[in-house]
């Protein structure tokens, strides 16, 4: 999600809070992304190994791990997702947990809750908020796993054995369900039905978002495609709702007032949207001269481009970029999209969301946790 290239691109720099560059390739950010994250991790106490050991060491998941070995050599997506748990080279799986913890710390001790004592806090964070951060990660991971289910009817024999795919699906359904079930029992232990409701509704949002995502990739992308407004709605469901509602829940959990909850939600929402724009933009801003990779036709820069040039010209451009073998020449299409304003519009939107996130966090008292949240919100506009 936060590609490693960031660290290469944004190494120059002195911290300049509040003054964010809008230009594409400048790298006057605070510091590189991994430093932002590792600094933030120090602030919240212990390292962000949220994927609860309880779950990873359970009989159930060791069982899955044993079975997943059988999938080696097949093309089932579960294999890659499972690799991600270990290597985590490209995807920062635990970003959401980290943000929840930083917000918890930035909001400080609770003044309203009688049954919460400051001495229960570890590094300025209540145990229930730590559990919530872990639950957020469990849910996110569960859906990474469920996203990797394969439609068996679309599977042709040349792709590999159907049996392997069936087996991979079985493992993916079970392990995703296992993570979700643990999230449910974990939520129940938080003893706050409002929080249960918020997070459950985030799960519903996530499902709807992923459902949209599937549909677009399959059918709409080439034909019509969605417009920018529905892109935002959909990106919120699939990428923003969980973080936004978890941030809000972290406030509700220790009885911070409605305003704190609203701001936390706002921060989570805009950070996620900016983050999503950043990753959508990656194929278009990379300066590397390597192999042109494919990109999603429903990614933000393409949608902006389509809106700017109009659907008719876009259809022409698509046809021009289609090779004789009826395949898309992505490097040609990339050049077409880059030649217009689609990319810079997406960058503008990314900066807008970054600014809204920064705005939201200003209401919290100045602290190193808040500074870390500011750094993260700034980092999403660095390419």
């Amino acid at each position: 999600m936060f590609p490693a290239t960031w660290s290469r691109l944004s190494r120059l720099a002195s911290s300049s809070r509040g003054r964010r560059t809008l230009s594409l390739f400048s790298s006057s950010g605070s510091s590189n992304w991994s430093k932002v994250v590792s600094d933030a991790e120090k602030i919240v106490g212990y390292p962000t190994s949220f994927m609860s050991l309880r779950c990873l060491l359970s009989d159930e998941l060791s069982n899955v791990a044993m079975h997943v070995r059988k999938l080696v050599g097949t093309q089932h997506p579960l294999l890659n997702t499972a690799r991600g748990f270990v290597y985590d080279s490209k995807n920062n799986l635990q970003m959401r947990g980290l943000v929840v913890l930083l917000l918890s710390k930035a909001a400080g001790p609770s003044s309203a809750a009688i049954d919460l004592h400051p001495q229960d806090m570890v590094s300025g964070i209540y145990p229930s908020q730590r559990n919530l951060a872990e639950i957020t990660e469990l849910i996110h991971t569960a859906f990474l796993v469920h996203r990797g289910i394969v439609n068996l009817k679309e599977w042709t024999l040349s792709d590999g054995s159907l049996k392997d795919m069936q087996f991979g699906n079985k493992m993916a359904v079970l392990s995703g369900d296992f993570l979700l079930a643990n999230a449910c029992t974990g939520l129940a232990q938080l003893n706050n039905t409002k929080v249960v409701e918020m997070i459950s509704s985030a799960i519903g949002d996530l499902v709807q978002g992923i459902y949209y995502e599937n549909n677009n990739n399959e059918e709409n992308a080439l034909a019509g495609g969605v417009d920018v407004a529905s892109w935002e709605e959909q990106a919120f469901l699939s990428h923003g709702a969980l973080l936004a509602k978890s941030c809000q829940a972290a406030m509700e959990l220790v009885k911070h007032d409605k305003e704190a909850q609203r701001l936390a939600y706002k921060y989570g929402k805009h950070l996620s949207l900016g983050h999503k724009l950043n990753s959508d933009l990656q194929p278009f801003v990379k300066s590397s001269a390597g192999e042109p990779e494919s990109f999603s036709l429903s990614s933000a820069p393409v949608l902006f481009h389509r809106q700017i040039v109009g659907p008719e010209r876009w259809q022409q451009q698509l046809q021009q970029a289609t090779t004789l073998r009826n395949q898309l020449d992505y490097s040609q299409l990339l050049a077409v999209v880059k030649s217009e304003k689609g990319v810079s519009s997406a960058v503008d939107l990314c900066c807008y969301h970054s600014n809204r996130a920064l705005e939201a966090i200003q209401a919290f008292p100045s602290s190193e946790a808040r500074a870390a949240l500011e750094n993260i919100a700034s980092a999403i506009t660095k390419f």
């Binding site: 009989d59 159930e60 069982n63 079975h67 859906f143 469920h146 289910i149 394969v150 439609n151 068996l152 009817k153 679309e154 069936q166 699906n169 079985k170 359904v173 079970l174 995703g176 369900d177 296992f178 979700l180 079930a181 643990n182 449910c184 029992t185 939520l187 129940a188 232990q189 003893n191 706050n192 039905t193 409002k194 249960v196 409701e197 459950s200 509704s201 799960i203 519903g204 499902v207 709807q208 992923i210 459902y211 949209y212 599937n214 549909n215």
Partner: protein
Amino acid sequence: MAAPWWRQCRRWGTNFPSGNVFDSVWCFSGRPACASASSLSRRTSSWSSAPGPEGKPLLALARHPKTLNINSFLIRHKSRLLYPTQQWCCCRMTHSDAKPKDPFMLAQRDLTSLYDDIKKELFVSKEELKNLCDYYFDGKGKAIRPMIVVLMARALNIHSNRSGDLLPGQRVVAMISEMIHTASLVHDDVIDGSDKRRGKRTINEVWGERKAILAGDFILSAATIALARIGNTTVVKVLSQVIEDLVRGEFMQLGSKENENERFKHYLEKTFKKTASLIANSCKAVSILVNSDPEVHEIAYQYGRNVGIAFQLVDDVLDFTSGANQLGKPSAADLKLGLATGPVLFACQQFPELHAMIMRRFSSKGDVDRAWQYVLQSDGVQQTSFLAQRYCQEAIRQVSRLRPSPERDALIALTEMVLTRDK
């Protein structure tokens, strides 16, 4: 075979709620716990070829399972399936004092809007996803879980000196029980690769696996939202335990145990997690909403747990005895999935040849047919039915501790329906 099965059964039964249950079920030393229990034993007596005084046949069956007249059982069993109403009448008569009504009728007034209420909870803007989520809430399901929940809720309300009318939260629990059940069905069908359910094509068959999984997840999230809105943290804990049990039960189905005793224990535990936990904990949840006495919660829980296990045991029997399509799925479906259920585990005691097949999950060619034959030649089917009866008797014993009410008696009558159902 080292020990007679009934002795093993005692060992398997270690997680059975009370130690005396077995002795009372076994020998009927005292008066039967209630009229329906004696009706059960009377019916059982026809299974044994040897006539004996009331109550004894159970013991005879237990001690000499192999002397059983299998043919007469099968005929008897089939005739039961053919004439469920006849059984129902006989059950009615045994409760002449309380005039129990048909549980379906009694529960109906609380369940008329069940499916509409569920569909309202499944609020999605995207039309296709909405259709997927509503797919099984077409009013054609048995809705046995909500039925048990509303009857239990009314019985408990009366037990707690209130009017029987459902509290709003109790009504929601009934709805949630059906939603959680359905969500798990949708996922199970993907896991098992099933293409038919309730005489309909499965969601994965029509829309593909990816969408099916998302629909299941969405139904579950809607259920937990409704659960949270009840606003009771204990109820939330009790019902989220169900979700965890369902998954753990599914995981238990992946493995087989080498040791026979362990295998049966594993089977019963899996049965509890996959089927009974939902019923038990939903019953417990409605009791928490009306009564603060933990003993009452335990009665509700134990009734649900015992009925739930009996329900699944009967289901496993029907997989062997019911013709294709009656359950909405082909028979011997479990064997084909590599699962060894009660009838097979019992049969394995008479035909040790089954052991190897169980261990390889009936994966070699001809395994399913051979295992099927062994089961029908053995008394695995009737021993499983017998076990189901014992769980029902325990359910009756538990619920009889509640103050009498038409709903309580309907819950007792319902155990009979669980045992005699044919689909």
